[in-house]
């Protein structure tokens, strides 16, 4: 199939209620359209405000393949600007992060901008006298994201002028970010250190789907977590359980465990597994931390916060959050078969260092390019990427526990944990965004 740009009917036909056509993972034109439509109209995670604590602090990232910069302005507010000089288009900031001082200055012709993106000076401005410069695009300064929202320190941007409001887009799924931030006795998070950066030679959706795919761990991770389990079981019974064993073992829990964990879906493709409990539920207690939380929130509320143990929350399409272990994974699609996954460790401000050590350990064990669990997963994504070239069956089946109820309005809610309902929800959101207006223009 080809020629999707001007054919919304063809795009719609790729997504059935319980299956999707392989082109959604392999067709470069669809990837381009995803970046232009889905990723521009969605609220995309940019960064965390703790990464830009001081005026002039910035970080640069690509979202929907466009260079953007997130920076702390002179008024203390965080902004998201397009990283493109108004003059000839050079990226204004080349570094990944840093402090730009009081002004942004282009490296090519020295045009400067205030930290809100307004054009401040142009060298030898007399050269523009009587040129109607004030009417030019260049005079308007740096473009900014059409909309930006900061929620508990998480900075999201929407690039297109039209689209759902932040609150409508995420709705009650924001409770996972709340739970993550509430785990700090003072309600604040900080990004700790550099992200683990793992290049996946596979389509971005395989990663996003996998986060709430609970039928794979006991198979795909049998070699890693299963090996850890076997080695652990051969230890003398009185041996103290190391943290790494505590973190590996739940990956090879049985089907019943993952089914009873539960999955909850929301509109716009968001979801989380671990409605009832999760692979993070049985970590050893840290008494000092529990006491701090009780002092900060009172016993009842502290228990409610720590009693939540969500597995992965997908903020479709760009962010996945693990509140119970304080790590987040950010999805940066690069090409139809190339996706950068960046995994950040978060520090619960005010909490004992043992919490940060646990998060840092988990992030390394599971999300690093050197992770045996990561190797298991990426092998499977790549196997799909290559396997889909096979003709004969062009459909990817997403039928597990499908019911017609999901088509009805208000289908958002809880389902059994091993249902593929979260993936079906993602593709409903995908099809809606991919066929919205502009699709015929």
């Amino acid at each position: 199939m080809s020629g999707y740009r001007h054919n919304p009917t063809a795009i719609r036909a790729l997504v059935r209620e319980d299956a999707v056509h392989r082109d959604v993972y392999t067709n470069p034109e669809l990837f381009d359209l995803e970046m232009e439509r889905l990723w521009r109209s969605a609220w995309i995670y940019v960064g965390h405000d703790s990464q830009v604590p001081a005026v002039g602090d910035f970080l640069t990232v690509n979202i929907a393949r466009q260079p953007v910069l997130m920076l702390r302005g002179s008024d203390g507010g965080v902004r998201v600007l397009l990283n493109r000089c108004a003059h000839k288009g050079a990226k204004i900031l080349g570094a990944g992060s840093g402090n730009c001082g009081k002004l942004l200055r282009c490296s090519y012709h020295g045009w400067t901008y205030t930290l809100d993106g307004a054009l401040r000076t142009v060298p030898v401005k007399t050269g523009y006298a009587d040129t109607r410069f004030a009417e030019s695009e260049a005079s308007k300064g740096l473009s900014s994201a059409a909309a930006i929202a900061i929620y508990r320190g998480f900075v999201f941007a929407r690039l297109s002028r039209s689209g759902a409001s932040f609150e409508d887009y995420f709705g009650d799924s924001l409770s996972s970010i709340d739970n993550l931030a509430d785990r700090s006795p003072v309600g604040r998070l900080e990004v700790s250190g550099a992200p683990l950066r793992y290049m996946h030679n596979s389509n971005w959706k395989m990663f996003v789907e996998n986060l709430n795919d609970t039928m794979h761990p006991m198979v795909a991770h049998e070699s890693s977590a299963g090996t850890a389990r076997d080695l652990w079981q051969s230890q003398p019974p009185e041996t103290a359980k190391p943290m790494v064993i505590e973190q590996f073992l739940p990956f090879v829990s049985n089907y019943d465990f993952f089914d009873k964990m539960g999955v909850k879906i929301y509109d716009h493709g968001h979801s989380y597994t671990g409605v009832n409990f999760s692979i993070h539920s049985s970590y050893s207690a840290i008494p000092e931390y529990a006491a701090q939380m009780e002092a900060a929130y009172g016993a009842v509320r502290a228990q409610a916060i720590l009693g939540e143990s969500r597995h992965n929350t997908v903020y479709y399409p760009s962010l996945t959050v693990k509140g119970a272990i304080q790590t987040i994974r950010v999805v940066r699609p690069i090409a139809v078969d190339r996706t950068l996954i960046e995994s950040f460790t978060l520090r619960l401000v005010g909490a004992p260092s043992a919490l940060l050590e646990r998060s840092a350990t988990y992030n390394r064990l599971i999300n690093a390019p050197t992770s045996v669990v990561g190797h298991d997963d990426l092998y499977c994504y790549r196997a799909i990427q290559e396997g889909l070239a096979a003709n004969g069956n062009e459909w990817v089946n997403l039928q597990r526990n499908y019911s017609d109820r999901e088509k009805e309005p208000g289908a958002a809610g809880s389902y059994n944990g091993t249902s593929e309902v979260s993936m079906r929800g993602q593709f409903r959101a995908w099809a809606a965004a991919m066929t919205v207006d502009g699709a015929g223009s």
């Binding site: 070699s223 850890a228 790494v244 390394r364």
Partner: protein, 174 residues
């Protein structure tokens, strides 16, 4: 921040005694055991309190509050070795192979009191799997403890040149 682990004090060159030569050979042999997948022999080179560490950041402090690319104790090394042998390790359906190319190790410092010697070894590390070969470079620091007639690796710290890069799966041991 620099890439050395000597706190910027600079290193004192040692004479190349025959004892030094044995330690230098030890570092070469360690790499060879990995390249030849003689993992049981390799594992036995490591002390019970060992740390196989590849930081994520240049100048990264050694504490556990930072995440790393590798930060293995002896148990984690064992899990990796056994996983590589597990027939259900599908990511090894096409086995990975690696090749270390070491510059001559230099003895950086020696602490007679603790019996610890630190060697610095710039290296190239190639990892190959199914038509793809990745090239890495860096500096390895071996902290070796000599007890009786044996030498053990207490710390192997690997400063990867591109530690902050987006990396593909790295499945063996730099």
């Amino acid at each position: 921040m620099g890439r050395g682990d000597d706190g910027g004090r600079g290193r004192q060159l040692m004479g190349n005694t025959s004892e030094d030569g044995a330690l230098i050979d030890f570092v070469y042999d360690e790499a060879r055991l990995i390249d030849e997948k003689r993992f049981d022999e390799w594992y036995d080179l490591y002390a019970d309190d060992c740390r196989y560490w590849m930081p994520l950041m240049r100048g990264q402090p050694p504490d556990a509050g930072h995440t790393s690319l590798f930060d293995e104790d002896k148990l984690l090394l064992k899990i990796r070795i056994e996983r590589l042998r597990n027939p259900k390790s599908y990511s090894q359906a096409f086995p990975s192979w690696c090749q270390h190319i070491l510059q001559m190790p230099r003895i950086e410092r020696r602490d007679a009191h603790s019996g610890m010697t630190v060697l610095r070894t710039p290296f190239l590390y190639l990892e190959y799997q199914q038509d793809r070969q990745e090239t890495y470079a860096g500096v390895a620091w071996h902290h070796l403890r000599q007890t009786n007639d044996r030498t053990f690796i207490v710390v192997k710290k690997i400063e990867l040149l591109n530690c902050d890069a987006a990396l593909p799966s790295l499945q063996l041991f730099p």
